[in-house]
Subunit: 420 residues, 2 copies
């Protein structure tokens, strides 16, 4: 596509998204839920065609991509079924739109409060996981927004097939199909244009690796809701319950490795190091977890290799763990502030005052007392669905569900009041 053609096409796409967003925002709960249910049915009906299209994407990608990549890209019958079920599930969640809160009667008779409304148009930029097309599309429409989708280049055909289901779902609910649009080309120029469409796009959500998110962050002035890395800590305080400390330190690391809420660094109070580290070291060894430790840790654990400075801020996403012995709570919190990523951090303690300090003072999107960091996700938190985990502090922080895709405006109800 030539530069002028692309510019024209992107402007049309932005305007159409804005217009569609207004209609979807004003639509009733019924209509939006119907979109999701119809889309779910269409995904099931068209399963064969979608899988064939996906196969073409997979075949083309095999030439230059590894197995892990292909695994994320490939769909099969059960993955499609799971996506359909997820849409049905989102349809059943309560509709937040139009809900008012904080209503107060002012002395002059005005009733003033807040009403929950959609954000408007959301730009979703993600990697080659076609399922995100359906999940993000479903969540944005449920919450009354229009969405512009840009998945990884390798999944373009699969995404087209899936967006067509969403668009047909919108059409059948008498809503504009432009409520869910895919970028017209996989050219990088189209992303660049999207990131400059301040007038038509209210929020950009990048989802994927740190590289992708940094690139988006550096290129746009549109607000973004970003999930950077998760360098999560567990701190075992000197008053920690022994069983809890061991269970949590093991679970947070070994229950799953490649996830953002897995522990990457274990901090242990000096007074408990000699008792707990050898026990933990044995369990980690059984799981094949490599230990990179501070000098004290290396004294206590034969298998530990010395950690280098870079280890403390590394998101391993693999069976590797850095371990540090600290003097006390303050040293632990200083370490977390210095090396952490403000994602999820946990303390194991029986001391109420220290628990209170940790919960209050550690500046992370989730802070956890006496439980595994692995609980930090939208489903475990009862949000019903999750579009991502925000490590930002503004707007939405931590797991983001439907609420994070909405905004609150002030509503004022009067009967003729004027200002004196």
């Amino acid at each position: 596509m030539s530069t002028e053609n692309l510019d024209t096409r992107m402007t049309e796409l932005g305007q159409a998204a804005r217009a569609a967003g207004r209609v979807i925002a004003a639509s009733g709960t019924e209509a939006r839920d119907q979109v999701l249910r119809t889309t779910a049915s269409l995904i099931q009906e068209r399963a064969d065609a979608i899988l064939e299209t996906n196969m073409a994407d997979v075949e083309a990608a095999k030439a230059h991509r590894d197995d892990a990549f292909i695994d994320r890209l490939a769909l099969d019958g059960s993955r499609l079924e799971a996506l359909a079920v997820e849409l049905e599930h989102i349809a059943e969640l309560p509709d937040l739109l139009g809900q008012t809160s904080d209503m107060q009667d002012q002395p002059n008779g005005l009733k003033i409060g807040r009403m929950r409304v959609p954000i408007g148009v959301i730009g979703m930029i993600y990697e080659a996981r076609p399922g995100v097309t359906v999940e993000a599309g479903g969540l944005c429409i449920k919450s009354g927004n229009a969405v512009i989708l840009r998945g990884g280049t390798e999944s373009y055909r699969s995404n087209q097939a899936l967006v067509e289901c969403l668009q047909e779902g919108l059409r059948q609910a008498s809503l504009p199909p432009e409520g869910a649009q895919l970028l017209p080309t996989t050219d990088r120029a189209a992303i660049d244009a999207l990131l400059k469409m301040d007038e038509w796009v209210d929020l950009i959500i990048p989802r994927g690796g740190t590289e992708l998110i940094k690139r988006v962050h550096d290129q746009t002035h549109i607000p973004i809701l970003k999930h950077l890395h998760g360098v999560c800590h567990v701190y075992i305080d000197d008053t920690a319950d022994r069983d809890q400390a061991i269970q949590i330190a093991v679970n947070a690391k070994t229950q799953r490795y490649g996830v953002c809420n897995a522990m990457e660094t274990l901090l242990v109070a000096e007074s408990r190091a000699e008792e707990l580290l050898p026990v933990l070291g044995d369990v980690y060894a059984e799981h094949g977890v490599e230990i990179r430790g501070c000098p004290r840790t290396c004294d206590l654990l034969e298998q530990a290799v010395p950690a280098v400075e870079g280890d403390w801020s590394e998101e391993y996403l693999s069976p590797v763990l850095s371990v540090r012995v600290v003097a006390d709570l303050d040293e632990a919190m200083d370490h977390i502030e210095k090396y952490g990523s403000h994602h999820t951090d946990a303390i194991v303690t029986t001391d109420e005052e220290r628990a209170k300090r940790f919960m209050r003072e550690v500046d992370s999107s989730s802070v956890i007392l006496n439980a595994s960091t692995r609980f930090a996700d939208g489903f475990e938190y009862g949000l019903g669905a999750e579009i991502g985990i925000s490590t930002d502090k503004l707007h939405a922080r931590g797991p983001v569900g439907l609420e994070g895709l909405t905004s609150q405006k002030f509503v004022v109800y009067g009967d003729g009041q004027v200002r004196v």
Copy 2:
């Protein structure tokens, strides 16, 4: 200051703000309130010296600035007194920090909810109004944040004198004085550096004219909370109560002109135009308000001059009003969407269904039924204080008080839970 010196100085400043922010965030309500009360006393005690310093700023500015500018820059005894009273008032507002909400018991025994915490470090960029130094400083500290202040060049000496009061207030409460810092120089290079300090600054609040805000927006990737212009509308529906319609349309325009929540465009339903516009025209004429009208308005009002396209999106901030006759609610809402600034819009109607649609569908930070647009401000809304009015949709929308200067993180309380 040389470029290297400035860079070093700005990095020190950012690091010091971050460190101070941590201490202030962890401090008790008492300590933060004490800062504000001490600062209030110091402003009163040092009034003579502050006014002398301010006089030097005023004298220097007189050479190249107009009277309106000087009026904003100049302090006097009663303005200082008002600032001290405002600080006392902010000190009396409830402390939001540490408040938990949405606490829920999960089936696995976890208690999960949200805790209100400070944002961290806030960069405040504003024009030559020294009072903002005190107000913004007070609000940021009350809400547990550190603040970096950059007021207009012409008010530099005044700001220094006032920041010294804030710093002494922090010191006397045993909190780090770096919790409130002024940029070390009025060089534009210092603002440029501030806007790139993603690592140390969590939020930028630009306050001032549209020019300033656009410049900040275009130069930073740090989240910003911005107040663009207010092109506010009143729509008189065909079922409007006659007296309410007239009172509101007059008050919204004439009660004060130079404010962002004043009405700039009046929309009148066709069926009421002939009845209401002549009456309104007479009142506006008494107030010396110039009318720029659509053709139908010009038919009905002799004094009206034809509006040009640019009028509909103009924020006059003066005794000028654009007036348009529209067919119905839909045409009114389309006009507001096309030309408005998503700030504050009002409808006058007795029809419940239309009221409901307007309140729900108009995408503005405040939507108002049967009352003047002039009510859109933090004090009228009962927020107790206001750092600005946000026309953004993310995080905080509309008048922003202490809550908008805070964030919510997830807190999870367990007794040994691990994920299976």
